[in-house]
């Protein structure tokens, strides 16, 4: 039954609605294309990918220029895109056909764990869309089709902090792709668990608040910081190991799955449709 539950959920990932993610990445990659136009060079595939979750360094607050420290919009929308698009399915699946499946599954916990798997796979597809949109833009701008080479475009996006003597390609992959993926997956699971405790709109607001506060308070313990490539690269350069950084989103994942599972077992499913 568990396999069939997961299979059914995974089919939902390929819904037409999720194609919006791809359109979004096509638009957001245009920002990288704009940066390349300033430098008059063609960005590589890796440049396009690194630009999406780059984020920014914390900016010092200046009362005369209060908006000098606005949250990085591009990063915020990239992270929130998946949170927004995966908000409805688990609760929507508590009505109609989904309710019948839940009754036949025989265990609310199995149903919930299947949704967790769906959530992580959804994030994976989100990141695959990102890779694919980067590929399209690279072909369009006649850049280098490589995931190992980067140009000055990435250096500009990373605020000229990539020192080739210190920063390796592995570090760029970890900071620009792996850590944002783990962060997005952890936040997504957290949001789904929270949806079982409160209304989905408040769950979305809490995750958005977590991202904004992370931008404001610079520390790896605020999870949003780990979704910003620039900050993760700075942590790696200052001596944090990848394992140390990975522990934080993994703790969020474990707490979310356990809390959601407990709540799911006890909740009255008939009143949780919307």
């Amino acid at each position: 039954m568990s396999y069939r539950l997961i299979k059914r959920d995974l089919k939902r990932i390929l819904k037409v609605k999720n194609l919006w993610m791809f359109v979004f990445f096509l638009i957001s990659s245009a920002l990288c294309y704009g940066n390349a136009a300033i430098l008059q060079i063609s960005p590589s595939w890796l440049d396009y990918i690194l630009a999406v979750f780059a984020g920014r360094y914390p900016v010092e607050v200046n009362i005369s220029q209060p908006f000098s420290d606005l949250p990085p919009l591009h990063w915020l929308v990239s992270v929130e895109g998946i949170l927004f698009l995966s908000l409805d399915y688990p609760l929507e699946d508590l009505s109609g056909e989904g309710m019948q499946i839940l009754l036949r599954a025989g265990s609310k916990r199995k149903w919930y764990l299947s949704k967790c798997v769906w959530n992580v796979c959804n994030c994976l597809v989100y990141f695959l869309f990102m890779l694919f949109s980067g590929l399209i833009w690279t072909l369009f701008s006649k850049g280098i089709l490589s995931l190992k080479d980067y140009t000055d475009v990435s250096n500009m996006v990373y605020e000229w902090s990539i020192d080739p003597d210190i920063v390796t390609i592995q570090m760029l992959w970890i900071s620009g792709i792996l850590m944002p993926f783990l962060t997005v997956a952890a936040l997504n699971l957290f949001q789904m668990s929270l949806c079982l405790y409160t209304k989905p709109v408040f769950a979305f607001m809490v995750t958005t608040a977590a991202l904004i506060i992370s931008d404001y308070y610079e520390s790896p313990y605020f999870i949003g910081n780990l979704g910003m490539g620039i900050r993760v690269l700075a942590y790696l350069e200052s001596g944090y190991s990848v394992i140390q950084l990975m522990i934080i989103p993994l703790v969020w994942v474990c707490v979310s799955v356990v809390a959601g599972s407990i709540r799911c077992r006890r909740m009255d499913i008939l009143s949780r449709e919307d």
């Binding site: 209060p66 949250p71 409805d88």
Partner: protein, 283 residues
């Protein structure tokens, strides 16, 4: 009593007597008070420094510098700016979607007529959204006035972010109280028209939460598009993005014509979509 007044009374009662309205008010008021608390700590530090200095210039601690709509300098005000579009839609933006799903809108529509139902619904959504965005500004102004000194802003001081080209900038430096109250009124209208955008998806979205988040998602997507295709390619000195419409002092200039144009466009979009879904669309 005309049918419209009766249905309006019903809609307003439903809008202002539901837990979502009070939750949104509590969240926005809480953020406003938290912002005042964070400002209080900054102002106390500034006051101590000013007392020790020989110039005794209180411009840097002015009431009108620490307003929620002027300076997004602390985490709570930043949260409010980020979440205002959701907060405006929470009180009653979901109502049409929910009523359509349950079928209860048919009862009201049959008794009052489609046009009356639409007008009353839009006004109720508008009022509830407007209250959620205007009240925090009013509360912030009143709480800040308890500890911030009233100083007539001096443009020569160089501490105020309001510059030539920003919304009623002249009034800010001559009659700041009037300016603040006018902006609270503007926040009411902006919140109202933003909540009205919840009628745009109509019955295409079945999940009420996505309807509530629709204005927020629309504004931020527009912002991304503007960044990708406008701000990134040319120097633009005016703030076109509706995501920061609620701020009296956004990152770039917001002349009155631009603010009013954006409000009218958003309002027309909500009304046109609402008319289509409620009046013209097949029941």
């Amino acid at each position: 009593m005309s049918v419209f007044i009766r249905v309006l009374k019903v809609e307003l009662w439903k809008a202002l007597h539901n837990p979502m309205f009070w939750t949104a008010i509590l969240i926005s008021a809480g953020l406003s008070v938290l912002s005042s608390f964070e400002s209080y700590q900054m102002v106390q530090e500034l006051k101590e420094r000013i007392i020790r200095s020989p110039f005794q210039n209180y411009q840097g601690a002015s009431l009108f510098l620490f307003l929620l709509c002027v300076a997004a300098i602390n985490s709570s005000s930043r949260l409010f700016i980020a979440l205002w579009a959701i907060l405006a839609a929470i009180p009653y933006g979901w109502s049409f979607c929910r009523e359509k799903k349950t079928g209860s809108y048919l009862q009201e529509m049959i008794r009052s007529g489609r046009t009356n139902y639409f007008r009353a619904k839009y006004i109720a959504v508008f009022v509830s959204g407007g209250l959620t965005t205007a009240l925090p500004f009013l509360l912030n102004l009143m709480v800040n006035a308890l500890f911030c000194p009233y100083v007539l802003p001096d443009p020569a001081a160089g501490t105020y972010p309001v510059m030539n080209g920003w919304f009623l900038s002249k009034l800010f430096y001559t009659h700041p109280w009037s300016w603040a109250l006018i902006w609270i009124g503007m926040a009411f209208v902006i919140g109202g028209v933003t909540a009205g955008l919840c009628l745009v998806p109509g019955s295409t979205i079945r999940f009420a939460t996505l309807v509530i988040l629709f204005p927020y998602a629309l504004f931020y997507l527009l912002d991304v598009l503007l960044n990708a295709f406008v701000y990134n390619r040319m120097v633009v000195s005016t703030m076109f993005s509706p995501a920061y419409l609620i701020m009296a002092v956004p990152p770039s200039a917001n002349p009155p014509w631009l603010v009013f144009t954006e409000i009218i466009v958003i309002c027309l979009l909500g009304i046109a979509a609402g008319r289509y879904w409620i009046i013209r669309h097949e029941l």
